[in-house]
Symmetry: D2
Subunit: 348 residues, 4 copies
C-alpha cells in the first residue's frame, strides 16, 4: 500500500450523533490515510460544530449534496435507518464506496432493492457495519472453525446483555437492534443462511420497563441444521456482556470471558471488571473495520476485497431473519425465513 499526503481518502460522515461523532474522531485520530472533509447532520449546528474542530472539514446541509460532492471519495452513513435507502442509492449512483451502519434499510423490500441495484453495477460499493467480524476474538474463533480442527460445528450458544436501554426501546428492537448482531455472527461463522427462527418470551424482568419483553430467547436453525440459541437481555443492570460458544464435532470454543486485571480485595473477593458498554468491548473492532475499509478503498478496491467485509447481501439477509424474528415475537411460534435466492441476484 502506498501512502502519500495527497493520497489520503477524503471521507464524508453523514449523521454525527453519538455513533457518527465517534467515527469522525476515529478517522481523525486513529485511522491512517483518511481525512474527514465533509460532515452532515439534520441538526445543522452539530455538524458545524464538529467541522469547526477539524482542519479542512466543512458542514454540508443536504446529505445528498455531500454524497455528490466531487471532493468526497467515500461515505460513512451514521444517519437514521429510514434515510439509508435513498442515501445508499445516491452513493451507488455517484460511484462512492460507503460504509453503512446497520441496518442496511428498515425493511427487506428496500434492502433487496439496494442489493439488486448494486448487483446491476457489477461492483461492490457497500459495506455494512457489522463490526464484530473485525473483533480479535471473533476473528480467532472464525479461524479456528475454518481450520477444521474442531470438525463441523453443531450448536452455538450466545448471550447478549446490555445494562440498560433508552426508554424508547421496544420489544421488537431487541430483535432488530440487538439480535441482528448474532444473526450476522451466525452467518459469518457458519457461512450459511438461517432458515427459521423462534422467539421465546420468559416471564419479564421485573426491573424492565412495563411492556418490554425482556429477556428474550432466540432459537435459530441454519440451512444445514445447526442450532443457535441467543439470550437477549437488555436491562441487566450489570454491564455489556457478549459471549459466544460454538460446540463442534471434536470440541468446543468460547469467547467473551472477562479477564484482564484481576483483583483480590476484602472481604475475600476475587475478580475483575466487565466492559461497561459496546465502545469498550468493541472499540478495537471498529478501529480495525475502519482501517481496513480505508485501506481497501484507497487502493481503488471494492469493499469486499478484504476478508469478511460484510456487503449489502449480508445486510439484506440479516433484515430477513429479523423480520421473521419479529413475527415470531408476536406469535410465539417458529417462523420460516423468507429470502430470495442469492444466485438470482448475482446473475442480474
Amino acid at each position: 500500500m502506498s501512502k502519500t499526503t495527497t493520497g489520503d481518502l477524503r471521507v464524508a460522515v453523514l449523521g454525527v450523533g453519538v455513533m457518527g461523532a465517534d467515527h469522525v474522531a476515529r478517522l481523525s485520530s486513529r485511522i491512517s490515510g483518511a481525512q474527514v472533509v465533509v460532515v452532515n447532520d439534520y441538526v445543522t449546528e452539530k455538524a458545524e460544530q464538529i467541522a469547526a474542530g477539524i482542519d479542512g472539514c466543512r458542514a454540508v446541509v443536504d446529505p445528498l449534496d455531500a454524497i455528490a460532492d466531487p471532493d468526497v471519495d467515500a461515505v460513512v452513513l451514521a444517519t437514521p435507518g429510514p434515510t439509508h435507502e435513498k442515501q445508499l442509492l445516491a452513493c451507488l449512483e455517484h460511484d462512492k464506496s460507503v460504509l453503512c451502519e446497520k441496518p442496511l434499510t428498515t425493511d427487506i423490500e428496500t434492502s433487496l432493492a439496494v442489493v439488486k441495484r448494486e448487483a446491476e453495477l457489477g461492483k461492490r460499493l457497500i459495506q455494512v457495519g457489522f463490526m464484530r467480524r473485525f473483533d480479535h476474538e471473533y476473528a480467532r474463533l472464525k479461524a479456528l472453525l475454518d481450520g477444521g480442527e474442531l470438525g463441523r460445528p453443531l450448536v452455538m450458544h450466545c448471550a447478549h446483555r446490555n445494562p440498560a436501554v433508552p426508554t424508547s426501546f421496544d420489544s421488537a428492537m431487541i430483535v432488530r437492534d440487538s439480535l441482528v448482531h448474532e444473526v450476522d455472527v451466525t452467518r459469518f461463522l457458519f457461512d450459511e443462511e438461517i432458515v427459521s427462527i423462534q422467539i421465546v418470551k420468559p416471564a419479564a424482568n421485573p426491573g424492565a420497563p412495563h411492556g418490554l419483553a425482556d429477556p428474550q430467547i432466540a432459537i435459530m436453525r441454519t440451512a444445514s441444521g445447526k442450532h443457535v440459541d441467543v439470550e437477549l437481555f437488555v436491562t441487566t443492570g450489570v454491564a455489556y456482556e457478549v459471549r459466544t460458544e460454538v460446540v463442534a464435532e471434536k470440541g468446543s470454543a468460547m469467547i467473551g470471558l472477562d479477564v484482564g486485571l484481576v483483583r483480590k480485595t476484602a472481604p475475600g473477593i476475587w475478580g475483575g471488571q466487565i466492559a461497561p458498554g459496546f465502545r469498550e468491548r468493541f472499540g478495537q473492532a471498529y478501529d480495525t473495520e475502519f482501517q481496513r475499509w480505508v485501506d481497501a478503498v484507497r487502493v481503488g478496491g471494492t469493499t469486499q476485497d478484504y476478508t469478511d467485509g460484510p456487503g449489502a447481501w449480508d445486510g439484506y439477509a440479516a433484515a430477513a431473519v429479523c423480520e421473521a424474528g419479529v413475527a415470531s415475537l408476536n406469535s410465539g411460534l417458529p417462523v420460516e425465513v423468507a429470502m430470495v435466492d442469492r444466485a438470482s441476484i448475482d446473475g442480474a
Copy 2:
C-alpha cells in the same frame, strides 16, 4: 449425633454393578457410621465376591429377602429401574429407609403409586439419588439464589456433555438418563414445577452412532415463566462437562467452569484438565449424599430431615417431565407436562 460401635447403620446394597459397587466401597471406606451387611445382585457370583471382601457381610439371593431381613436397617437400591417399584414398595412395607438411584420407577403411573403409598404411611422413607443437590457448587448456587442477592431468577442455561455413551444408549435415554438431572436441578434451584418442555434436534453429530439424535436441546418453562435451556450432547469425545448458569434480575452466576491445576507448556498452550467422568466430577456429591443419609437415618429421622434430600415426589415429578420430553423428542413440538396436584397426595 451419637456414634457407638453398636449404633452403626446396617445397610443392604441391592445391585452391585458399577454404581452399586461404588456405593459399597463408599459405605465401607469413606462414610462414617454405616456397615454393609447384605449385598444382592441378579448375578449371584458378583454379590458373593463382594460380600467376601467385607467383614460381616453376606450375599442374599432374593432382593426382597434382603429388604425384609431384620438385621438390615436401611436399603440402597442400585438395581435396574424396572425392579424399583416392587423393591420400593417392599421397603415401605418393612418400614426401611431407602436411598434409590434414579429413576424412582420407569413410568409415571408406578411412580405415582409409590408416592401415594408412602404418603399413606405418613412417613418419608424414600430418598432419590439426585446427587447434584449435594455438590458443593450447586449448593453454593442454591444458597446464593435463596439469599436473594441476585433477585428473582429469570433464565437458566445448562450444558450436559458426555465423552461417550454405551452403544445401547438411544435418543430417548438422552432425555430420561441425562436430562433428568437438569430437570431435578431446575426444580431444586427454583422451587417450582416445570410446566412444558420442547426438544430441538439439530443436525446430528457425524460421530454419533447412526440413528442417535445427539446433540439435543431441551427448552423448558417453569410454572412462573422461567426459561431453562439445556444442551445435551453425549458423544463429544472430550470429557464430562456440566455447566449451569442462572441469569437473574440483579446479576448472574455460573458453576462448572474448569480449573484446578493450570499448566503452561509448549507450543504456547495454557490450560488444565476436565473431569473425565461423573465419578470425578460428582464424587464429593455422592459421598456427602450418603453421609447425610446415614446420619439422618441413624438418628431415627426421615430422609427429608436434612436440607434438600429429594424424596419420592421429586422422583415422580422428574419422571413426568421426562415423559413429556420424550413425547416432544418424537413430535418436535412443545409438550405440556401432566402431573397430579401435589396437595391431593399429601392430603391422602
Copy 3:
C-alpha cells in the same frame, strides 16, 4: 481392608482446642473406621464436655495416662508444641501410632531426639500433620512433576496469605507457623532438602500490629540448586490465599487459583469468593489425611505405608529450616541450614 464393628480404631485425641475439637468431629462424623474413645485437655471441663457428647468416650486428666491406656489404639496430638516431646516419646514407648500436629517439637535438638528414638525402634509410628500433602491440588501437582512431563523443576513461587492473625503472633511465628508449610511443600514436591534460607523484610504493612515484620519474603535454595521464594503476609485483610507455581524445564504449573461459583453483578463486576480460612481451603486435605492414617493404622501398618505420609524426619527437617529462617529474619543475611545426615539416623 476389612472393616468390622469390633475393628474400629480406638483413638485418643489430646488437646481439644479449636484444632483438636475439629479432629474429634472429623473422626466421629466423617472418617470411616475410627472412634474417639478418650479426650484430654489441660482445661479439664472442655475435655469432659466433649466426651459427654460422644457415646463411649471419656475424658482423661493426664495425657500420659491417655497414651498408656490399653483401650487406646492410636493417638492424635493437638496439644501445645512444648508438650509434644514428652508425649511423642510416651507414644513410642507404648507402641502407639500417633498423628502429631506440627511442630514435631519446638526445637531441633528435641526433634532430633524423637527422630532417633523412633529409628531405634525400627518402626515408623509418628506422622506429622503436614496436611497439604493430602490436598487434591498439591497431589495433582506432585503427580505431574513425578510424571516427568514438565522435565526438571527449576524454580517455585509461593504466596501464603492470611486475612489476620491473633495479637500474640510475632515475626518469628510467620516463619515457624506459616512458612513451615511451604518448607514441607518444597521438600515434598522436590524430594530433596533445603540448604539455605534468607528472609527479606520489605517495609511493613501499615495495618500490621506495631513491630510485626509483615509481609516477609523467604528465599530458599535446595540441595540441587532449585530456587523457591515465598511471600508470607498474615495481615492482608482479604482472605486465606495459598498459591504455588512450579517452573520447570518444559513448562510450568500453578495451583491455588480461585474459582467455583462465578458471579456477575452491578456495577459491572465479575468474580467469586476466596476461601476465608484454612478450614475451608484445606478441609478436604485434613479429612483425607485422617482417613488414610486410620486406614493404615487399622491394618497394622506403619504410618509411612501410604504415599507421602510425612514422618518424624520431615518434622525435624522443617524445624531445621525454620530455625535458620528465624536466624535470617534477625540478621537479614542468607543462613545455611544445619541438619544431621539422614543416613546416620536410619543406620542407628
Copy 4:
C-alpha cells in the same frame, strides 16, 4: 488536535532491522498523522528497499544527515545501542523530538551526559521506548494503584519469560535487555527509585545454552522499602509470558493472565493460547505509544506532555539499576544502585 494533509508529522526512522521495520509499517499503516519521509540503516540496501515501498520516502546514508534534514520533523531511533549517544545528542542539537528504543545509551556515564544536555536545553525532546507503560493492562494497574483503593503497595512479583533467545544472548543481557522492562515497570507503577538489587542464580535450565545463567531471579528494593522480585527465564520453550502482581495494604491485583478464546478438546483438555512473542503481547502498546508521541509532537508539545511518557531520566535510571544488576550477577551479593540526585540535574 487539528489534522490536515500538510500537518502530517514527517518522521525519519533510523535503523530498519526487525524492530525499525515494524515501526515504519506502524507509522505508515496504523498511526494517524505521520509519514515516514526518511529511512536509514547501516545496511544501505535494506533502507533503500524499504524507502522504495513508501511514497515520498527516501533512504539517507548517514544517520546524522537524516537527523539534520530540514524536511524531518522528528526521529525514531531503532539503531544499535552503541550509536545512540551520538544520535541523541544530534537530535538535541537540531531540536528534533526523538523516540529512542531502549537502551538510552549503553552505559550510565553517557546516559547521564544525555540527560544533562537535554536538561540544559530546558526542553524535553527525548522519549525512551518503554512501551509497557502504554499497554492497556499496565495502564489499568497504574490507575488502580493511583486511585488508592488498594492502599499502599508493599510487594510486587513479576515473571518475564521468553520461549527462546538468539545464541548471542549472554547472562548479562538477561539483566540489560529483559529485566530492564521490569525495572521501568517498577519505577512507573511505584513512582520511586530502586535502591538495591540482587540477582539469584538457581541451577540452570539444562536446555539453556552452555554458560547461560538462566533462569535468574532479581530481587529489588525501592527507596521506601517496597520489595520486587522478578523471575527471568528466556529459554522456556513455551511462549512469551509477562505477569505482574502487586500486593498492597488492602488487596492485590494481577495482570498478564492468559485468556481470550478458550477451547475444550479431547482428551479432556480446556485452555487457550499464550502470546508467542512480544509483538503479539505488546502490539497494542507500541501502537498507542507511537500514536500519542505523534499527537504530542505534532501540536508542538514536548514528549512528556502526555501521561507517563518515559524520558531521558527514565532511561538513565533503568541503566543504573541494570548496571548494579550485572554487578550482582557476577558477585551474587546485593548491590546498591548508584545514581546522581535528580534535583541536581533539573536545577542545571
